[in-house]
Subunit: 154 residues, 2 copies
DNA sequence: TTCGTAATTTAGAATAATTCTAAATTGCTT
DNA sequence: AAGCAATTTAGAATTATTCTAAATTACGAA
């Protein structure tokens, strides 16, 4: 028996070895879904269609707002599982709160601390020279650039 | 009455408008002091002599270890005051824990998540091209690059 | 010196984000 | 339909940090 319409979220979950439960499907739709628009390509050129940056609290609130019964604990579990399976990427910009990004390609971020808001920066938009050699016994895992913003004037 | 030897920490504190209390002097010595070595230049060329990256918990432990009676609350207060006066810089590499850096010049970091360890990267060691324009009404406050490390092999 | 007062420190409570636990529920395979 | 492991969940626990209100301290004035 196949779900008639979960926007392919069940398939997406199965593809990464996660059981498509009601909660995971709903959270995946919120994170990756595109409302009523037709299914299709996930990208336009090199740009994700819907880049989202959410905290656990935010995602939970959004789910509750859509009358999806899901606990905060499950939201945390799910965010970490999605991250572990490469569906999400954790972004560290705030010591105190974790953000999760639906864009898992290499890229960077603008961050407005006053609003807690993140905006993606295409990787190629910031030309990077060579990095200095990492300490002995270590290799580079990722290069994360955060451009912190403040309001214009002062 | 002048303190015979606080390694100039009282003066350093006064210079930024902070009362040189026993606790602040002790924490400043731990953070900025150089043991028994003679006073002098804070830099060698462009390199800080003693770059330190500490969490509140770590600094508190270090103080207690030196028999400096100071509460954790005061350590937090002091770290924030020092940061506010430009003696320290907060580094965000871990959502969950704040690190404070005695190097306040523009520079970047290697971060080893397994050990929670930071290593400075000289600013000029990473050539940076132009940044894309920030969102309307915002200007760039800082550009922070974190090079995350993992053990060699695998 | 000694005072007076404002700044500072502090213990402990409070808060916030996140994780843990153990029990109830649910999704699949048989 | 049954069985069982995977998942969810409420609520407690943990961790980092901030707050509060009372005690202490630094420092200029007398």
């Amino acid at each position: 028996m196949v779900m008639i319409n979960d926007n392919g979220m069940s398939a997406k979950l199965k593809a990464v070895g996660l059981r498509p439960t009601r909660q995971r499907i709903a959270l995946a739709e919120i994170l990756f879904g595109r409302g009523d628009q037709p299914l299709g390509d996930q990208h336009l050129g090199d740009q994700h269609v819907s880049d989202r940056h959410v905290t656990a609290e935010q995602l939970h609130g959004e789910a509750i707002g859509r009358d999806v019964a899901v606990s905060l604990a499950t939201v945390y579990n799910t965010l970490h599982q999605f991250t572990g399976q490469g569906l999400l990427r954790e972004v560290v910009v705030d010591s105190g709160r974790s953000y999760f990004d639906t864009n898992v390609d290499a890229h960077h971020h603008f961050f407005d601390p006053s609003r807690g808001e993140l905006v993606d920066i295409n990787r190629d938009a910031i030309p990077l020279g060579d990095l200095p050699p990492p300490p002995e016994g270590m290799v580079v895992d990722s290069v994360d650039i955060v451009v912190r913003l403040k309001p214009t004037g002062r």
